[in-house]
Point group: C2
């Protein structure tokens, strides 16, 4: 099979790049969740030894990238190029990380789809023969996200049950051609889809139509059914958004059933009462670059489909466009 | 030659993707500049028929992408994937354009390097065999840039002579394998470089060290001298930044001489009194996707080197990191 476009929006990798190492760093709340013991590093507090939350977020991404490199005894300077992003204005956290790492740096902006977008692009530039080790990373932080997108935390505004909690989490991975490691097999690049949902306290439902659009297109382009995968996960639709996405898939004839879940829903325990679940770049980044890749490497999951989900323009009073990118990862 | 990494930060394309069409849209001030007649569309006013400046900026990018596609009789839906960005919070203008075009969309964030970054990545995914037509675009708008990065326009704050004027401009191009058209030949991906310059009224000087770093690395990686190129242009260093970059290159033994210029310096006439020149994603995007590609297609320029330049974190009171990416374009 040669590298190529398949159907309307999908691609297949000819020389499937391998995910040879990965690392995750999460905040205190995520550390208390059901997967707490499976992340590499749980922060004791939100400042993470820095003077500002922005710098803390930059450090999270930088250290996740370094950890991922060092797990295979790579000096982080050995990384040939980094693809990374966050959803702050000016991608500030990623730029701090890029400055500290001092390696060739390509910034990406995909709202909460960042890890999926980076994996798709990183996989293509590896497959194209340009590089032999590419790093990908994404990060979000509760305090910076609340400041940028919602209300000052100091106000103590009560969130409705439909709202989602910004995940403090970073995930990074290194792509190399290492036989036996999990491989990127195919991907579907999403379109920006505008929903009629204008409630910033229910972003999951706003992004659900984009997620369903990409997932249905993925099945159609590749001639696959949900049964092809062992697990299908969305990044951060939360409880309401993931339920809506499942319904939209059922309407199109695709029953996801028990194999479907959402990183934002499972990253916290029910007892933590995190409303409709987590959201942010860090939701899928930490879950994929921790619990999920561990299970794929262990052979517990053979065929894994990540659907990165993002709200593209979050503002008061207008419809919220979303986007989703899907990437299929298979056990080595 | 196969696609590969060269030296520390550069790549060469094995199947050099061709730039088969391009289009540019600029604001009223840029239309009055020396290249005014060479842009495809000069806006009569800053709202461009929309209700807000953000929407106007989204429309500029959307229409530039459409124009570039239609110049080769392509329906814009025939574009297989778009790589685009701007420097607004949440890449809002690009997301508006992505929503309206409804094609697979990958957002990039490279501050004012966006067009160069998009060309580099777009070229790699074409060369890798994934796509046969990829569109790349970048945009900036005077009013949205001033609101996000500087002072409210209504205040009428006097700018010092070192300040640069945000360019209202969009540029877009379509990559295909069309023999005879300008081709992307090699590229150098920059690192985030922090200068000791902390004056947001002289961003060009803050980014000059990053630009010099990438340019010098480009020469070293590829074993080239400035004389290899007919023209070397930076994106938006302005008068002070470009002079500083030239000095830094001379210190490293590279005399750029007359073949070097900066898009931000030449986009306006001296009589327009635009302080130290223009800046923003739109500076290089409009100049490359207008006057420069026209001259390369006409054979007036054979070997062209674009050095996209960007200030990565613009804020009050701290050092400003910059980045630059270089891409070599040759006549077909």
């Amino acid at each position: 099979m040669s590298s190529k476009k398949i159907g309307s929006q999908s691609i297949a990798y000819a020389n499937p790049p391998r995910i040879s190492s990965w690392a995750s760093i999460v905040g205190p709340m995520e550390g208390e969740g059901p997967f707490g013991a499976e992340f590499d590093w749980v922060m004791e507090d939100y400042l993470f030894g820095e003077k500002s939350y922005d710098e803390a977020e930059g450090k999270m991404l930088r250290e996740a990238l370094r950890l991922a490199a060092r797990k295979q005894s790579l000096d982080d300077r050995a990384i040939e190029v980094v693809l990374a992003g966050d959803f702050l204005s000016q991608s500030k956290a990623s730029n701090y990380a890029g400055r500290d790492l001092s390696v060739p740096f390509l910034g990406i902006y995909g709202a909460c789809t960042t890890l999926a977008e980076g994996l798709i692009l990183g996989g293509m530039i590896m497959d194209g023969g340009f590089y032999s080790q590419v790093a990908v990373g994404a990060v979000s932080h509760y305090h910076t996200a609340e400041r940028q997108f919602r209300l000052p935390i100091e106000l103590g505004t009560v969130k409705p049950a439909s709202a989602q909690w910004p995940v403090t989490g970073a995930g990074a991975l290194v792509l190399r051609q290492e036989p036996g490691e999990p491989r990127i097999q195919a991907a579907t690049i999403g379109k920006v889809v505008e929903s009629d949902q204008a409630d910033i306290n229910d972003l999951g439902s706003a992004v659900a139509p984009a997620a369903a659009d990409t997932l249905i297109t993925h099945f159609q382009d590749l001639g696959r059914e949900p049964g092809y995968y062992d697990i299908i996960v969305t990044g951060d639709l939360g409880k309401l958004g993931s339920a809506l996405m499942e319904e939209l898939c059922i309407s199109a004839g695709y029953h996801l059933g028990d194999k479907y879940t959402d990183c934002g829903v499972i990253i916290y325990d029910k007892q933590q009462n995190m409303l409709a679940g987590g959201r942010g770049c860090g939701s899928s980044a930490a879950m994929v670059c921790g619990p999920y890749l561990n299970r794929i490497a262990d052979g517990k999951i053979k065929r894994f489909l990540l659907v990165g989900t993002g709200a593209m323009i979050v503002h008061q009073g207008g419809p919220i466009p979303g986007i989703a990118h899907a990437i299929a990862i298979e056990a080595g």
